[in-house]
Amino acid sequence: MQSFSYLLARTPQEAAALAAATPGAKFIAGGTNLLDLMKLEIETPSVLIDINGLDLDTITSTPEGGLRIGALVLNTDLAANPTVRSDYAVLSRALLAGASGQLRNMATTAGNLLQRTRCPYFYDTNMACNKRSAGSGCSAQDGVSRQLAVVGASPACIATHPSDMAVAMQLLDAEIHTVLQDGSERVIPIEDFYTDPAANPGIETVLQPGELITAVHLPAPLGGRHYYQKVRDRASYAFALVSVALVLDGKGGGRVALGGVAHKPWRSREADALLPSGAGAVMSRLLAGAQPTHENEFKILLAERTLAGLLSASAE
């Protein structure tokens, strides 16, 4: 690990201004992703700004009837929150399907959204990887790609976003609230938050240098029945091959989002509208234009069958 200075932030505005003004600065929240990557020198911040002292760890209701989730709310606490359990069950289920109890006790809401890919070549600093080192190439294209993206990718990068929580957040139309270096605030709908992997897949979100996430807002509850099904190589403590977040309104309609297939949670309103026609119709729309590799083409059928399984279980 490279050495770094360590600072505790006092206010969100100050943290954002300092991070923007200090080259090589990074925020640290739970540290469960950042420290892992720092040990491998994939991340090499020269200054760590500890944001854990900021007052951003509460869940409150919004005037619109929704929920404001502070950026520092722990994954365990968000999953266990009574309102989330009863009104946003898909979010509880997604969180509880991720990582381990120990990690969820450290991982934060904002850190979870910003965790980086688990592509094996991103982690192996001996290998070419455009995300780690722009322009070096992508070892995954002809390599081990079983875990990687089937849709939305680019020739430069076929990494997936590994978060379970983000899939549920996307389904629920979450909005990300931030503060910028000049103290101004902005609201980013989660569907606009993650950027497509272009020539420099190292840029993953629309966040500007120093921009600090302060909260995630959920709109008023959707109602309906909530499901989160994660398919993985072992029953617990593994990243998704494919995951399906689903809310059904009881009248044949609803919403679907997929994890494990793209660089961001994958959802489209056109595909949602096809739910009454069944899993095949939804997936042919949602995964239209998919360009899987030889190793991960199984994900397309797996996604369809996972959704079909949930739909038939819901009919019982």
Partner: protein, 216 residues
């Protein structure tokens, strides 16, 4: 017992270093209200060590350490509390599990400097060989280990698991998110999945935890 004696000098060494050095960030790490920022302009940020007081098993230890030191390495290398083990060092095995402010965490993925003011408990804090705590005694009684390397992490995780169940925190296998949470074998298995045992002592680990949960 010999090892107990041999660790004492190095513990004193650490204290001496701690007293001798005054880093920029002493105040920041000592109190909840940091004082590291200049009034105007960017702060001076070239200190790569910090002084922090870690409260471990009820005893405060003042340490001046490199910012890179993880909580795990601070416990093992600086405080010589070698009960807590390093397996993967990347959050994947659970060997480094300790309890911080009542919750189990992976000490390998946390910086020591981030734990000023926290209440840290390691396997040493739950009992001694002569007077083991309930979970430690259950692991011995149920023969819940072979080589024992994963055991301190398993014990701390298990203590955390029963606390989470008691507090009603649901898990991936909890049938209803709005119903009660019970210490069933399925629940314990799922909640213990962050602790890997290379020897495969899993079934006896489950028995040990169940025997304690029954007693609670």
């Amino acid at each position: 017992m010999n090892s107990e004696d041999s660790i004492k000098p190095s513990r004193r060494d650490v204290m001496v270093v701690g007293a001798a050095s005054s880093a920029l960030l002493v105040n920041a790490c000592q109190s909840a209200t940091p004082t590291t920022y200049a009034e105007e302009g960017p702060p001076v940020v070239n200190e790569t060590t910090s002084t922090v007081t870690l409260e471990v098993n009820g005893t405060p230890h003042r340490l001046t350490i490199d910012n890179r030191v993880t909580l795990l390495d601070a416990l093992r290398e600086h405080l010589r509390l070698t009960g807590t083990k390093k397996g993967c060092d990347h959050g994947q095995c659970g060997a480094c599990t300790v309890i911080v402010n009542g919750r189990r965490i992976n000490s390998c993925l946390s910086l020591a400097v981030m734990h000023a003011g926290d209440e840290i408990k390691t396997v040493e804090g739950f009992g001694t060989p002569d007077a083991p705590g309930p979970m430690q005694a259950a692991f011995i009684r149920e023969d819940a280990y072979q080589c024992g390397y994963c055991t301190p992490g398993q014990i701390c995780a298990a203590i955390g698991v029963l606390e989470e169940i008691r507090a009603g925190v649901p898990s991936h296998v909890t049938p209803s998110l709005t119903g009660p949470v019970e210490a069933s074998p399925e629940e314990i298995r799922e909640r213990m999945s962050g602790n890997i045992c290379r020897c495969g002592a899993y079934s006896n680990i489950l028995s040990a935890i169940q025997s304690v949960s029954g007693a609670v």
